[in-house]
Protein backbone atom coordinates (compact mmCIF):
# COMPACT_ATOMS: atom_id res chain seq x y z
CA UNK A 1 0.00 0.00 0.00
CA UNK A 2 1.24 3.49 -0.85
CA UNK A 3 2.23 5.41 2.26
CA UNK A 4 -0.44 8.06 2.84
CA UNK A 5 0.55 11.69 2.68
CA UNK A 6 -0.19 13.41 5.98
CA UNK A 7 -1.79 16.81 5.72
CA UNK A 8 -2.30 19.29 8.54
CA UNK A 9 -5.12 21.80 8.88
CA UNK A 10 -6.30 24.09 11.66
CA UNK A 11 -9.97 23.90 12.58
CA UNK A 12 -11.69 27.03 13.86
CA UNK A 13 -15.08 25.35 13.58
CA UNK A 14 -16.06 21.65 13.38
CA UNK A 15 -17.84 22.36 10.09
CA UNK A 16 -14.47 23.08 8.49
CA UNK A 17 -13.72 19.35 8.81
CA UNK A 18 -16.30 18.77 6.05
CA UNK A 19 -14.05 20.65 3.60
CA UNK A 20 -11.04 18.50 4.37
CA UNK A 21 -13.08 15.30 4.37
CA UNK A 22 -14.27 16.03 0.82
CA UNK A 23 -10.69 16.73 -0.26
CA UNK A 24 -9.41 13.61 1.48
CA UNK A 25 -12.05 11.42 -0.13
CA UNK A 26 -11.25 12.86 -3.56
CA UNK A 27 -7.54 12.16 -3.14
CA UNK A 28 -8.28 8.62 -1.93
CA UNK A 29 -10.52 8.01 -4.94
CA UNK A 30 -7.67 9.19 -7.17
CA UNK A 31 -5.19 6.70 -5.76
CA UNK A 32 -3.53 9.24 -3.50
CA UNK A 33 -4.15 8.11 0.09
CA UNK A 34 -4.10 11.01 2.49
CA UNK A 35 -4.46 11.34 6.25
CA UNK A 36 -5.68 14.67 7.57
CA UNK A 37 -4.53 15.78 11.01
CA UNK A 38 -6.40 18.66 12.61
CA UNK A 39 -4.78 21.17 14.93
CA UNK A 40 -6.32 23.56 17.38
CA UNK A 41 -3.93 26.37 16.46
CA UNK A 42 -1.25 27.25 13.92
CA UNK A 43 1.60 27.12 16.40
CA UNK A 44 0.96 23.42 16.93
CA UNK A 45 0.63 22.85 13.21
CA UNK A 46 3.86 24.67 12.36
CA UNK A 47 5.64 22.67 15.06
CA UNK A 48 4.32 19.42 13.54
CA UNK A 49 5.18 20.51 9.99
CA UNK A 50 8.71 21.60 10.79
CA UNK A 51 9.15 18.53 13.00
CA UNK A 52 8.18 16.25 10.11
CA UNK A 53 5.00 14.90 11.71
CA UNK A 54 2.92 16.14 8.78
CA UNK A 55 4.05 16.32 5.16
CA UNK A 56 1.91 19.18 3.92
CA UNK A 57 0.14 21.91 5.87
CA UNK A 58 -2.59 24.36 4.98
CA UNK A 59 -0.93 27.43 6.41
CA UNK A 60 -2.28 30.87 7.12
CA UNK A 61 0.02 33.62 5.80
CA UNK A 62 1.38 34.14 9.30
CA UNK A 63 1.89 30.38 9.73
CA UNK A 64 3.77 30.39 6.42
CA UNK A 65 6.15 33.06 7.73
CA UNK A 66 6.47 31.20 11.03
CA UNK A 67 7.30 28.00 9.18
CA UNK A 68 10.02 29.75 7.18
CA UNK A 69 11.32 31.54 10.28
CA UNK A 70 11.55 28.38 12.37
CA UNK A 71 12.86 26.12 9.57
CA UNK A 72 15.21 28.76 8.13
CA UNK A 73 13.39 28.85 4.78
CA UNK A 74 13.25 25.10 4.29
CA UNK A 75 9.71 25.03 2.83
CA UNK A 76 7.97 25.88 -0.42
CA UNK A 77 4.44 27.11 -1.04
CA UNK A 78 2.97 24.76 -3.61
CA UNK A 79 -0.69 25.75 -3.97
CA UNK A 80 -3.34 28.18 -2.83
CA UNK A 81 -6.91 29.23 -3.55
CA UNK A 82 -7.53 31.64 -6.40
CA UNK A 83 -9.10 33.89 -3.77
CA UNK A 84 -5.92 33.87 -1.67
CA UNK A 85 -4.25 36.09 -4.25
CA UNK A 86 -4.32 39.89 -4.13
CA UNK A 87 -6.44 40.43 -1.05
CA UNK A 88 -6.56 43.76 0.80
CA UNK A 89 -7.94 45.18 4.03
CA UNK A 90 -10.24 48.17 4.22
CA UNK A 91 -10.37 50.80 6.93
CA UNK A 92 -14.09 51.34 7.41
CA UNK A 93 -15.50 54.54 8.93
CA UNK A 94 -18.90 56.00 9.62
CA UNK A 95 -20.12 58.28 6.84
CA UNK A 96 -20.28 61.88 7.96
CA UNK A 97 -18.25 61.01 11.04
CA UNK A 98 -15.59 63.59 10.33
CA UNK A 99 -12.95 61.09 9.17
CA UNK A 100 -11.99 61.66 5.54
CA UNK A 101 -8.24 60.96 5.50
CA UNK A 102 -5.92 58.61 7.36
CA UNK A 103 -4.54 61.67 9.15
CA UNK A 104 -7.96 62.27 10.69
CA UNK A 105 -7.44 59.08 12.69
CA UNK A 106 -4.81 60.78 14.84
CA UNK A 107 -5.89 60.69 18.47
CA UNK A 108 -8.76 58.34 17.64
CA UNK A 109 -9.46 54.67 18.38
CA UNK A 110 -9.14 52.07 15.64
CA UNK A 111 -10.80 48.69 16.20
CA UNK A 112 -9.01 45.63 14.81
CA UNK A 113 -9.25 41.84 15.02
CA UNK A 114 -7.18 39.32 16.96
CA UNK A 115 -3.52 40.03 17.64
CA UNK A 116 -2.44 37.26 15.26
CA UNK A 117 -4.84 38.07 12.43
CA UNK A 118 -2.81 39.08 9.36
CA UNK A 119 -5.74 40.73 7.56
CA UNK A 120 -7.53 42.33 10.51
CA UNK A 121 -4.59 43.44 12.65
CA UNK A 122 -0.98 42.91 11.58
CA UNK A 123 -1.24 44.16 7.98
CA UNK A 124 -3.49 47.19 8.62
CA UNK A 125 -1.38 48.25 11.61
CA UNK A 126 1.74 47.98 9.43
CA UNK A 127 0.00 49.97 6.67
CA UNK A 128 -0.81 52.75 9.14
CA UNK A 129 2.76 52.69 10.45
CA UNK A 130 4.08 53.11 6.91
CA UNK A 131 1.74 56.08 6.55
CA UNK A 132 3.03 57.78 9.66
CA UNK A 133 0.56 56.49 12.23
CA UNK A 134 2.06 54.42 15.03
CA UNK A 135 -0.26 52.40 17.28
CA UNK A 136 -0.22 53.63 20.86
CA UNK A 137 1.28 56.96 19.79
CA UNK A 138 -0.80 58.51 17.03
CA UNK A 139 -3.91 56.42 17.70
CA UNK A 140 -5.32 53.96 20.21
CA UNK A 141 -5.54 50.36 19.05
CA UNK A 142 -8.60 48.46 20.26
CA UNK A 143 -8.01 44.76 19.64
CA UNK A 144 -10.61 41.99 19.60
CA UNK A 145 -8.70 38.85 20.46
CA UNK A 146 -11.21 36.26 19.32
CA UNK A 147 -9.81 32.72 19.00
CA UNK A 148 -6.16 33.67 19.19
CA UNK A 149 -3.99 30.98 17.61
CA UNK A 150 -6.27 30.59 14.61
CA UNK A 151 -4.79 33.64 12.86
CA UNK A 152 -8.12 35.30 12.18
CA UNK A 153 -9.38 32.44 10.01
CA UNK A 154 -12.82 33.06 11.48
CA UNK A 155 -14.69 36.36 11.16
CA UNK A 156 -15.26 36.87 14.90
CA UNK A 157 -12.61 39.50 15.60
CA UNK A 158 -13.39 41.55 12.50
CA UNK A 159 -17.08 41.49 13.26
CA UNK A 160 -16.52 42.58 16.86
CA UNK A 161 -14.26 45.36 15.59
CA UNK A 162 -16.98 46.56 13.25
CA UNK A 163 -19.55 46.43 16.06
CA UNK A 164 -17.18 48.60 18.08
CA UNK A 165 -17.16 51.12 15.22
CA UNK A 166 -20.93 50.90 14.82
CA UNK A 167 -21.48 51.55 18.54
CA UNK A 168 -19.39 54.71 18.32
CA UNK A 169 -16.52 53.40 20.45
CA UNK A 170 -14.04 53.53 17.57
CA UNK A 171 -13.48 55.88 14.67
CA UNK A 172 -12.55 53.10 12.24
CA UNK A 173 -12.42 49.34 12.00
CA UNK A 174 -10.48 46.96 9.78
CA UNK A 175 -12.15 44.52 7.42
CA UNK A 176 -10.89 42.09 4.78
CA UNK A 177 -12.09 43.17 1.32
CA UNK A 178 -14.06 39.92 0.91
CA UNK A 179 -15.84 40.50 4.22
CA UNK A 180 -16.74 44.05 3.21
CA UNK A 181 -18.25 42.63 0.02
CA UNK A 182 -20.18 39.91 1.86
CA UNK A 183 -21.33 42.06 4.77
CA UNK A 184 -22.53 44.96 2.66
CA UNK A 185 -24.49 42.46 0.57
CA UNK A 186 -26.09 40.55 3.46
CA UNK A 187 -26.96 43.61 5.55
CA UNK A 188 -24.38 43.16 8.29
CA UNK A 189 -22.83 46.47 7.19
CA UNK A 190 -25.05 49.23 5.84
CA UNK A 191 -23.12 50.89 2.99
CA UNK A 192 -25.30 53.98 3.39
CA UNK A 193 -23.93 54.45 6.90
CA UNK A 194 -20.36 53.21 6.51
CA UNK A 195 -17.71 53.68 3.84
CA UNK A 196 -14.16 52.70 3.02
CA UNK A 197 -11.65 55.30 4.15
CA UNK A 198 -8.51 53.59 2.85
CA UNK A 199 -7.31 50.22 1.62
CA UNK A 200 -4.02 48.50 2.37
CA UNK A 201 -1.57 47.25 -0.24
CA UNK A 202 -2.54 43.89 -1.67
CA UNK A 203 -1.35 40.72 0.01
CA UNK A 204 -1.76 36.97 -0.35
CA UNK A 205 -3.45 34.65 2.09
CA UNK A 206 -3.23 30.88 2.77
CA UNK A 207 -0.87 28.41 1.09
CA UNK A 208 -0.10 24.70 1.17
CA UNK A 209 3.43 24.39 2.52
CA UNK A 210 5.72 21.42 2.00
CA UNK A 211 9.38 20.79 2.83
CA UNK A 212 11.78 21.49 -0.04
CA UNK A 213 13.12 17.93 -0.02
CA UNK A 214 9.69 16.30 -0.10
CA UNK A 215 9.80 13.63 -2.87
CA UNK A 216 9.20 15.41 -6.16
CA UNK A 217 7.05 12.66 -7.70
CA UNK A 218 4.72 12.52 -4.67
CA UNK A 219 4.43 16.31 -4.70
CA UNK A 220 3.65 16.35 -8.42
CA UNK A 221 1.05 13.61 -8.07
CA UNK A 222 -0.55 15.42 -5.13
CA UNK A 223 -0.69 18.70 -7.03
CA UNK A 224 -2.12 17.00 -10.12
CA UNK A 225 -4.95 15.65 -7.99
CA UNK A 226 -5.53 19.01 -6.28
CA UNK A 227 -5.59 21.00 -9.53
CA UNK A 228 -8.01 18.52 -11.08
CA UNK A 229 -10.72 19.53 -8.59
CA UNK A 230 -13.23 21.64 -10.49
CA UNK A 231 -16.07 23.95 -9.57
CA UNK A 232 -18.22 22.13 -12.15
CA UNK A 233 -18.19 18.98 -9.99
CA UNK A 234 -21.09 19.36 -7.49
CA UNK A 235 -19.22 17.65 -4.65
CA UNK A 236 -16.14 19.81 -5.22
CA UNK A 237 -18.38 22.87 -5.50
CA UNK A 238 -19.78 22.21 -2.02
CA UNK A 239 -16.23 22.20 -0.66
CA UNK A 240 -15.13 25.16 -2.78
CA UNK A 241 -18.10 27.27 -1.73
CA UNK A 242 -17.40 26.50 1.93
CA UNK A 243 -13.70 27.26 1.54
CA UNK A 244 -14.32 30.27 -0.70
CA UNK A 245 -12.59 29.43 -3.95
CA UNK A 246 -13.35 28.69 -7.56
CA UNK A 247 -10.04 26.98 -8.35
CA UNK A 248 -6.77 25.85 -6.78
CA UNK A 249 -3.79 27.66 -8.28
CA UNK A 250 0.00 27.27 -8.00
CA UNK A 251 1.43 28.71 -4.80
CA UNK A 252 3.44 31.91 -4.72
CA UNK A 253 5.20 33.80 -1.96
CA UNK A 254 5.41 37.23 -3.55
CA UNK A 255 2.35 38.47 -1.67
CA UNK A 256 3.69 38.24 1.88
CA UNK A 257 5.87 41.37 1.86
CA UNK A 258 3.65 43.64 3.94
CA UNK A 259 2.97 40.89 6.48
CA UNK A 260 6.68 40.15 6.71
CA UNK A 261 7.34 43.83 7.45
CA UNK A 262 4.49 43.85 9.99
CA UNK A 263 5.91 40.85 11.81
CA UNK A 264 9.39 42.38 11.89
CA UNK A 265 8.28 45.81 13.07
CA UNK A 266 6.02 44.40 15.77
CA UNK A 267 8.65 41.80 16.86
CA UNK A 268 5.82 39.30 16.62
CA UNK A 269 7.92 36.15 16.61
CA UNK A 270 10.01 37.26 19.58
CA UNK A 271 6.83 38.03 21.50
CA UNK A 272 5.44 34.54 20.92
CA UNK A 273 8.79 32.95 21.73
CA UNK A 274 9.88 31.82 18.27
Amino acid sequence: MTKPITMGAVLYDPKVSVIWEIIREFFEANGMPMDVVYFTNYERQVEALVGGLVDIAWNSPLAWLETQHVSKNDFVAIAMRDTDCDRSTHFVVRKGGGISTLGDLRGKTIAVGAKDSPQATLIPVEYLRANGLEAGKEYELRRFDVLVGKHGDHIGGELDAFKCLASGQAAASTMLDLNWKTWTADGTVNPNEFSILATTDQFDHCVFAVRKNFPEDAKEQWLRALFSMTYENPKHREMMDMEGLKAWVPGRTTGFGILDRAVKHSHFFQEVGL
Binding site: L11, P14, V37, Y38, F39, R44
Partner: protein, 149 residues
Protein backbone atom coordinates in the same frame (compact mmCIF):
# COMPACT_ATOMS: atom_id res chain seq x y z
CA UNK B 1 -39.88 -10.22 39.17
CA UNK B 2 -37.23 -10.43 36.51
CA UNK B 3 -36.11 -7.27 34.79
CA UNK B 4 -37.59 -6.75 31.35
CA UNK B 5 -34.74 -6.52 28.84
CA UNK B 6 -34.71 -4.87 25.46
CA UNK B 7 -32.26 -6.24 22.98
CA UNK B 8 -31.06 -4.69 19.76
CA UNK B 9 -28.44 -6.04 17.40
CA UNK B 10 -26.36 -3.44 15.65
CA UNK B 11 -24.16 -4.38 12.72
CA UNK B 12 -21.59 -2.38 10.81
CA UNK B 13 -22.59 -0.64 7.59
CA UNK B 14 -19.28 0.54 6.09
CA UNK B 15 -17.66 2.94 5.93
CA UNK B 16 -18.93 4.55 9.15
CA UNK B 17 -22.58 3.61 9.55
CA UNK B 18 -24.58 0.88 11.21
CA UNK B 19 -27.81 -1.06 10.91
CA UNK B 20 -29.91 -1.59 14.02
CA UNK B 21 -32.08 -4.68 14.16
CA UNK B 22 -34.87 -4.73 16.71
CA UNK B 23 -37.73 -7.22 16.84
CA UNK B 24 -38.97 -7.30 13.22
CA UNK B 25 -37.55 -3.92 12.30
CA UNK B 26 -34.28 -2.62 10.94
CA UNK B 27 -33.16 0.96 10.71
CA UNK B 28 -30.05 2.52 9.25
CA UNK B 29 -27.79 4.77 11.30
CA UNK B 30 -25.05 6.98 9.91
CA UNK B 31 -21.81 8.04 11.55
CA UNK B 32 -21.79 8.85 15.28
CA UNK B 33 -22.18 12.49 14.26
CA UNK B 34 -21.61 14.74 11.28
CA UNK B 35 -21.05 18.43 10.71
CA UNK B 36 -22.06 18.21 7.06
CA UNK B 37 -25.55 19.55 6.30
CA UNK B 38 -25.50 17.36 3.18
CA UNK B 39 -24.56 14.15 5.03
CA UNK B 40 -26.76 11.41 3.66
CA UNK B 41 -27.86 9.58 6.81
CA UNK B 42 -29.27 10.16 10.28
CA UNK B 43 -26.42 10.09 12.79
CA UNK B 44 -26.32 8.25 16.10
CA UNK B 45 -26.46 11.58 17.93
CA UNK B 46 -29.53 12.62 15.96
CA UNK B 47 -31.23 9.30 16.76
CA UNK B 48 -30.60 9.94 20.46
CA UNK B 49 -32.17 13.39 20.22
CA UNK B 50 -34.97 11.99 18.10
CA UNK B 51 -35.60 9.35 20.75
CA UNK B 52 -35.95 12.09 23.37
CA UNK B 53 -38.34 14.03 21.16
CA UNK B 54 -40.36 10.90 20.44
CA UNK B 55 -40.46 10.09 24.16
CA UNK B 56 -41.97 13.53 24.82
CA UNK B 57 -44.42 13.50 21.91
CA UNK B 58 -45.49 9.91 22.45
CA UNK B 59 -45.67 10.33 26.22
CA UNK B 60 -47.98 13.33 26.01
CA UNK B 61 -50.31 11.57 23.57
CA UNK B 62 -50.37 8.43 25.67
CA UNK B 63 -50.98 10.19 29.00
CA UNK B 64 -53.54 12.49 27.37
CA UNK B 65 -55.48 9.52 26.01
CA UNK B 66 -55.59 7.76 29.38
CA UNK B 67 -56.67 10.92 31.17
CA UNK B 68 -59.19 11.68 28.41
CA UNK B 69 -57.55 15.03 27.73
CA UNK B 70 -57.95 15.83 24.08
CA UNK B 71 -54.59 16.61 22.51
CA UNK B 72 -54.90 17.82 18.92
CA UNK B 73 -51.21 17.89 18.13
CA UNK B 74 -47.78 17.83 19.75
CA UNK B 75 -44.53 19.09 18.35
CA UNK B 76 -41.08 19.24 19.90
CA UNK B 77 -38.04 21.22 18.87
CA UNK B 78 -34.84 19.75 20.29
CA UNK B 79 -31.53 21.65 20.47
CA UNK B 80 -28.30 20.09 21.63
CA UNK B 81 -24.75 21.27 22.30
CA UNK B 82 -21.64 19.22 23.00
CA UNK B 83 -18.89 19.91 25.50
CA UNK B 84 -16.25 20.00 22.74
CA UNK B 85 -17.04 18.62 19.27
CA UNK B 86 -13.40 19.20 18.24
CA UNK B 87 -12.43 16.26 20.45
CA UNK B 88 -14.57 13.96 18.29
CA UNK B 89 -12.56 15.20 15.28
CA UNK B 90 -9.32 14.38 17.15
CA UNK B 91 -8.09 17.96 16.81
CA UNK B 92 -4.58 18.07 18.23
CA UNK B 93 -4.51 20.39 21.24
CA UNK B 94 -8.22 20.27 22.07
CA UNK B 95 -9.27 19.13 25.52
CA UNK B 96 -12.35 17.84 27.28
CA UNK B 97 -14.85 15.38 25.86
CA UNK B 98 -17.29 15.20 23.00
CA UNK B 99 -20.27 14.32 25.17
CA UNK B 100 -23.52 16.24 25.26
CA UNK B 101 -23.36 19.38 27.36
CA UNK B 102 -26.99 20.42 27.21
CA UNK B 103 -30.26 19.53 25.57
CA UNK B 104 -33.14 21.91 25.27
CA UNK B 105 -36.55 20.57 24.31
CA UNK B 106 -39.38 22.98 23.54
CA UNK B 107 -42.73 21.18 23.42
CA UNK B 108 -45.82 22.69 21.80
CA UNK B 109 -49.06 21.03 22.86
CA UNK B 110 -52.04 21.96 20.76
CA UNK B 111 -55.20 21.54 22.83
CA UNK B 112 -58.43 23.39 23.62
CA UNK B 113 -58.55 21.74 27.05
CA UNK B 114 -58.24 23.60 30.35
CA UNK B 115 -54.65 24.65 31.16
CA UNK B 116 -54.65 22.73 34.45
CA UNK B 117 -55.60 19.47 32.71
CA UNK B 118 -52.86 19.90 30.10
CA UNK B 119 -50.38 20.71 32.87
CA UNK B 120 -51.32 17.50 34.63
CA UNK B 121 -50.61 15.56 31.42
CA UNK B 122 -47.22 17.25 31.15
CA UNK B 123 -46.33 16.52 34.78
CA UNK B 124 -47.26 12.86 34.55
CA UNK B 125 -45.42 12.47 31.27
CA UNK B 126 -42.26 14.00 32.74
CA UNK B 127 -42.47 11.65 35.74
CA UNK B 128 -42.92 8.50 33.70
CA UNK B 129 -41.09 8.88 30.39
CA UNK B 130 -38.09 6.55 30.20
CA UNK B 131 -35.78 8.54 27.91
CA UNK B 132 -36.47 11.83 29.68
CA UNK B 133 -35.76 10.29 33.06
CA UNK B 134 -32.54 8.73 31.83
CA UNK B 135 -31.12 11.81 30.15
CA UNK B 136 -32.07 14.14 32.98
CA UNK B 137 -29.60 12.27 35.21
CA UNK B 138 -26.83 12.45 32.62
CA UNK B 139 -26.93 15.87 30.96
CA UNK B 140 -28.29 19.35 31.48
CA UNK B 141 -31.79 18.73 30.18
CA UNK B 142 -34.23 21.57 29.92
CA UNK B 143 -37.74 20.53 28.86
CA UNK B 144 -40.48 23.13 28.72
CA UNK B 145 -43.89 23.18 27.13
CA UNK B 146 -46.29 25.72 25.79
CA UNK B 147 -49.98 25.12 25.23
CA UNK B 148 -51.12 26.44 21.88
CA UNK B 149 -54.63 26.56 20.53
Amino acid sequence: MEDTRWTLRITAAPPTGASAHVRKHTFAIGAPMSFDAEYGAVTALEYLLGALGADLVGGIQSVGRRRRVEIDDVEVVVHCTLHNPMVYLRVVGEQGDAGIRAIEARVYISSLEDEARVRAVWTEMMETSPVVNTLVKAVRLDCTYQQVL
